[in-house]
Amino acid sequence: MRHLIDITDLTVEEIDQLIATAEDIMENPAKYQDVAAHKQLATLFFEPSTRTRLSFESAMLGLGGSVLGFSSAASSSTAKGETVTDTVRTVSCYADIIAMRHPKEGAPFAASRRSQVPIINAGDGGHNHPTQTLTDLLTIHRERGSLNNFTIGFCGDLKFGRTVHSLVNALSRYTGIHFVFIAPEELKMPAYINEALRRKGLPYEETESLEDAMPRLDILYMTRVQKERFFNEADYIRLKDTYVLDPAKLQSAKADLCILHPLPRVNEIAVSVDDDPRARYFEQVRCGKFIRMALIMKLLDLKA
């Protein structure tokens, strides 16, 4: 039985296969509409989410399966003090596969050690979010035709941004990628991620200026400064408006720049950027459903 807790649980070849499957589903959805018939997905969301939960549910329904679950810890037995592992062992009796989001880091790993069915980490605190990473990889692959040889800038909250950590980790296994980390001092990339890149001999640079970095970028990955990751509200208020992408800042950008954002945004991308053909974040949302369909098929060993 396989779980997906960290993006590196999948080999590069497996990710390539998932991308190929997702692209085939996008082309031929009817071929896949019954592959998960009579299978059930449980979505255990101990923390609120719109996109991730709905995309998992949409993915399972699109494969002909069904869905059960809860969307906040308050509506589960966690409110009575039940442990994550007990909740998961219970749900294992009802469902064939579990997608789980939890505010505590490592909760899906703890669950996977006891679960009788595959666990998919749908985000654990500020730690990992591997299905967002698969979504990002599929989007980049569709936009650029390859996952090699480009310069990617990550902008905003690089300290607590789990999507950023997972994506850097995943991209570090491909070739010819140059990383540019754009963040204020307080929200810089954690040292252990930079250290991992150094150990692999991969080039990266750090800057506080989005304007300086912009002309070199093939991909710009924007992030939200997340209120829920701060213990101190004053720090959040001070940093939340640090980077706002608007049409003026995009003037020096490449014509084929690809702007991504894991969403939701607050104000870090001006709405006026949405009509720019380089804004690809809603296409990214669309990709999220199809890569999750491919992942569910893989973990349940389903074939079209």
Binding site: T83, V84, T85, H102, P103, K104, E105, G106, A107, F109, A110, D124, G125, G126, H127, Y192
Partner: protein, 141 residues
Amino acid sequence: MNIDSVRNGIVLDHIKAGACMEIYKYLKLDQLDCQVAIIKNAKSSKMGKKDIIKIDSPIDIDLDVLGYIDPDITVDIIKDGHLVEKKHLALPQKLVNVIHCKNPRCITTDEKQLDAIFLLSDPEKRTYRCAYCEAERKSHR
């Protein structure tokens, strides 16, 4: 100072001077019934000063715990008054319930029944990472 030789048991040698009580605690030697001798600041040609622990019973020692605290310690196994085996330690790849995660965001800080698991991440720097949240802990030395 005379301390009886061990007949059947274990000698932990080349302990960094001053570290013996920590090892005593980690290995839970206070729970043993047999004789345990703790020698502090013994003369050492290699180390200048060292600590030694002699345990007069062939107990099972958790070599992972010992390797984590100090991989330079040697473990001498004594049978019938003779040294029959000298074990050299290494940093263990995995530690279970030896150290605990201090990251307040880690699930293990909420749910104490979970095994505290750490994996060796950088042997040169002797650093470990929590298997749950990847928070870093350094080895003792």
